[in-house]
Symmetry: C2
Subunit: 392 residues, 2 copies
DNA sequence: TTGTAGGCGTTATCAC
DNA sequence: GTGATAACGCCTACAA
């Protein structure tokens, strides 16, 4: 089917233009008109409300068709156990025959709540959050909930706007990675009856359920692993310590040193502004120049890959001359040679949905819980068959 | 605030357990009870429908409070130009005073359509689709539409289930990367009145709008770039040619050879089953063993990074001894040294939303269009300040 | 086990 | 410009 598509060569003019962020009206991209829709038999003037054509069939149509009452049809759909088998069958047949599609908006209006789960994350391009989105969407689908996604980009306004949307939809609940520590917006949403589960953050006081990961333990695992190799001292390449993750992972690193009988202050720290590949390359230069320890814990994988690149460019061999460990298992998936600390992302998303649904179902008897998942060490590149290792 | 969190050391037992995919009931992750919610003042027995507490204020409450009719309140919200300035102000004050939140479910019921855009993609973890999600969510937010996300994982059932959901919600429209070539499901959804825009696929016949990227051009750009370097012949590391992207990019590669006055059949092809890092490493071995051309076009970035790794492991230097180019710009973001072909992902998502909204607004007069975006070459690693280059 | 009827909160069409 | 009022399609006591 795609064989019939026009070859680029046949319209080489398109290759002249590079898309910009401007509007697409300009000839920068080839836009072809497709036969204008021949007013597909659906020319209903907006004035004639009463059409002879059978509009979207509702419960009533189904009821008539099956020779039962609307209540029975509703019951067959929502509480099948209350309906006699034979009636049920007849109703179902009618539903299929008429192509009836229930109207959730009407149900939501009546019930006062909508089977929609809001999901607010800071960034979809980030593999960590993407994994959570994946898990949440899957779990929600299993329970026939819709997922209304919001990407906050750390903008409180966006977050608030999505909260309003959820409130207007009378969404059943929301899973949110809050933008900042200001919980007043969250409280506001909750006050409106929307159940909330915090993700990647601890819920405080008795405000609700939460799902998080133990970054202190993660830092500990990473540095404990480094300490098993040869060398002396440990270097940490960190982001700004005001970021909770950075703070916590460093704490864990210090714990590992303490456990090994060393002074936690012996940890040599390099702080970078942006935690990416380029910064890693740059830090590698400083590490070599200052002759810092060659057992290096990087706060994330991109930084780690950058450091390796930088070390290699300076003639050092990894892992012979230096040990590097990353964090997050987000770089190239399981394909690179980098050891790292993995986080149970899918489980987190899963558990968040579970908590929310539990709160929705149990209602009064629900007890808020805070689950903290332990990360795990992933050791790679030691043998030709790199594999995941779990360290107790 | 996070200072108060328990240190891992204080409950070292958690570090003993590694989460499995099983249920969270087991002691594998530390779950702490948070003070049980003291039945937050909200103990309304399900029998007493009539509560004395002012339920959620509706249009009527606002109307009463402002001393106007419901119609006027509705108008102040939806068609402010029809309302006198002074009345408008009074109504708005009442809305704020009562904390009124409009009920979208009711509006949707009445209007027959819901301001929700469905988005169906095969995979959120894939950076290409993640970028599209990001763009779509942002554009939808600008217009106050909600985005209902579905990740199909190439499963037609999931796709169908989400289509049903959208139909039940009376969603305004949907953006979809279809699972397969079978367009009957799409037709079904469309028949229900949901507007559809195809993403990363060409719409056929007059079925609707679509947004895609020109992979033939992308392959051409990549190989043209390789041909500018020294060496003779070109190697392509490809996925299965039944995948449209793989097929098209190879076509473009052949076009480039033709343009350079070479025989397109001189292209040496290695086909891999899974297009990841490990496969790249393996292919590199075969390339060296068979002495295939050292100008290598890889169908994606992961493969390319694997090939570089494999070549390096065999003692070759890149780019001195071999030129490698990837595709997609998805590897490490803009941070690696790999040249590649970039796709205007954000523009695609943006344009898809624009087409959908246009169809929604214009109604009858809407004309379906198919937009094909040109990819662009990204050359990296040539200087110490790697930067993006656009080639005309 | 099934039928009946009232109302959920909005929108839109009228008169005024 | 504003006020009444009739749907929209479904759920759920309650009656039969």
């Amino acid at each position: 089917m795609r064989a019939g598509r026009p070859r680029w060569a046949s319209s080489s003019s398109t290759s002249r233009f590079r898309p910009t962020r401007a509007s697409c009206g300009s000839p920068r991209c080839s836009t072809s008109r497709i036969s204008s829709p021949p007013s597909t038999s659906d020319h209903r003037g907006r004035l004639e409300q009463q059409m002879t054509t059978t509009r979207q069939p509702g419960l009533v149509s189904v009821a008539r068709h099956a020779g039962v009452s609307v209540g029975t049809v509703s019951n067959t759909i929502n509480r099948p156990h209350l309906v006699a088998a034979e009636t049920k069958a007849r109703v179902r047949a009618s539903i299929a025959a008429l192509g009836y599609v229930p109207n959730r908006a009407a149900a939501a209006l009546r019930r006062g709540s909508n089977p929609i789960i809001g999901l607010v994350i800071p960034d979809v391009m980030n593999a960590f959050y993407a994994a959570i989105v994946d898990a949440v969407v899957e779990a929600a689908d299993r329970h026939r909930y819709a997922v209304s996604l919001c990407v906050s980009h750390d903008d409180p306004d966006r977050e608030r706007r999505h909260f309003e949307l959820l409130a207007e939809q009378r969404a059943a609940g929301a899973l949110v990675v809050p933008v900042d520590a200001d919980r007043s917006r969250l409280a506001q949403l909750r006050a409106f009856g929307t159940r909330l589960v915090l993700v990647d953050r601890r819920a405080e006081e008795a405000e609700g359920c939460s799902v998080a990961v133990d970054d202190v333990l993660g830092g500990y695992l990473a540095v404990s692993h480094l300490l098993q190799g040869q060398g002396n001292g440990v270097t940490i390449v960190n982001g700004h310590p005001a970021i909770p993750q950075c703070h916590d992972r460093r704490e864990g690193a210090r714990d590992a040193l303490v456990e090994a009988g060393r002074n936690p202050d012996s940890l040599i720290e390099f702080v970078v502004a942006t935690m990416n590949f380029a910064a890693g390359v740059e830090v590698a230069r400083r590490i070599v120049a200052q002759d810092a320890p060659r057992r290096i814990f990087c706060i994330n994988d991109q930084l780690a890959l950058g450091v390796i690149e930088g070390l290699t460019a300076q003639g050092l061999r990894v892992p012979e001359d230096a040990s590097v460990i990353g964090y997050g298992d987000l770089g190239l998936g399981a394909s690179s040679r980098l050891s790292t600390v993995g986080q149970p992302k899918h489980e987190m998303g899963d558990e968040a949905v579970r908590k929310l649904l539990d709160e929705l179902m149990d209602g009064e008897s629900h007890v808020h819980t805070a689950t903290v998942f332990p990360p795990h060490l992933i050791v790679r590149g030691t043998s030709s068959h790199a594999h995941d290792l779990t360290v107790a």
